[in-house]
Symmetry: C2
């Protein structure tokens, strides 16, 4: 249930932590330090209650949260065991493009290139998993950092999922923030790859053809209905994705 960010609390700060948090932190630290390696059987709830002088509910709360976090595995009758780190999983934070440009200290500008409402074609199915007789909005736009193109955005939006886009010109507002503020999404999928810029991309980004570009594709669903597919293309050297780490996760 938990990722480690939320499992972490301030120990050094000396602020009062509750008892179950102390128990949780103690065990977590022993696991992360390697003192209790994968497979290690951590003390029974019963033992921890005597060790900490508290009730079973309290240690149960701590252990349950560790189990939710994927750090330990609980087995009835057998006890609780340190889990092997399953997969190295990193948390990628997808920032707003404007925020990225702001972070560079450069003025941000957005520009709509094309806006086309049309019937979905067979080719769109790969990008957006809509039933075939359906209407989509295709957008192409650019994000600028200063006066240099920073990112190219090609987007497909399902009109079935978001009918209101028909009334939105997107001349001033980028579709990303517009959608985020309007459509509650509950699933998404990202693919990240490196591709050489083709002629059109190179021209739009103001770079030489063949330059390495970082391409991020994202598909988003809301209530099992496909909402949008977006392809963001960054000139290779201008951008890096940074991912924070999450220690161990089911």
């Amino acid at each position: 249930m938990a990722d480690m960010e939320t499992l972490r609390e301030e120990e050094a700060g000396g602020e009062p932590v509750s008892l179950y948090q102390r128990i949780l932190g103690d065990i977590r630290d022993r696991i992360l330090s390697g003192e209790w390696p994968p497979g290690y059987r951590i003390p029974f709830e019963h033992e921890l209650t005597t060790q900490y002088g508290c009730s079973r509910m309290t240690v149960n709360k701590a252990l349950s949260q560790l189990a939710n976090a994927g750090l330990i595995e609980r087995r009835r009758r057998s006890g609780s065991f340190v889990r092997r780190p399953q997969l190295q999983s990193a948390i990628l934070e997808i920032h707003d493009i404007k925020a990225e440009v702001d972070a560079l200290g450069l003025p941000y500008r957005y520009e709509l290139a094309t806006r086309l409402q049309r019937k979905a074609t067979r080719a769109d199915l790969v990008r957006l998993d809509v039933p075939l007789p359906s209407t989509v909005l295709e957008l192409s736009c650019r994000h600028f950092a200063g006066d240099r193109p920073f990112c190219l955005e090609d987007r497909l939006i399902s009109l079935a999922a978001v009918p209101e886009v028909a009334d939105e010109s997107f001349a001033e507002m980028a579709p990303g923030p517009w959608l985020v503020s309007r459509v509650p999404w509950n699933a998404a999928e990202h693919a990240i790859r490196a591709v050489g810029a083709d002629a059109a991309t190179a021209a739009a980004l103001g770079i030489a053809a063949g330059t390495a570009c970082l391409v991020i594709e994202r598909r988003t669903w809301s209530a099992d209905q496909p909402v949008t597919h977006v392809r963001l293309t960054y000139a290779g050297d201008s951008h890096a994705l940074v991912a924070r780490f999450t220690p161990s996760q089911g």
Copy 2:
């Protein structure tokens, strides 16, 4: 504490879920569907107890987990409120390279190119944050899918953090799995970028110079001590990182 993966349970399966899980799921669904938008004040614990006919501890457990998951925010005296999705964050799963190749259905092969134990230079500091008079192991190796190079690995390992590497040749075993199984890490940082292959990289990967490559750099710490820095270079079109999504996270 929770990420949504673990918050999710099988509703359709019809398997018996506990009461607090039902409460948790009900509220989560209303938030993710948008029925309860950001800022919405969800019913007080007291109201939920009467609504579900259960004790406060039970609804408290559900609400606490939602708060840990970052879906709601709890304020004393005021109630609990739906949080605005903070950042689009995706969970990137960093697979073992052998597993990636296996997934392609191709035979995997590993090959060590160079192995050099030496004093750390100023240039290494950027990669591995070690104190200057210290020793590092520099490795360069290739991972093959079939008979084509799949991935180039350049690695720096701190001997202070992992003295045992001095005795390991890495002729047979890749350093990645070796380290994972041996060193408990508790922090890492990833940077993902697209770069054009330079002459050496192109030769090593068997591609044309300038071809777009996906470069993943990872720095790993164990107990606040830098352990390793690795740069993985994939020929652009041969590889894409896929990231699963996590709905909303503090």
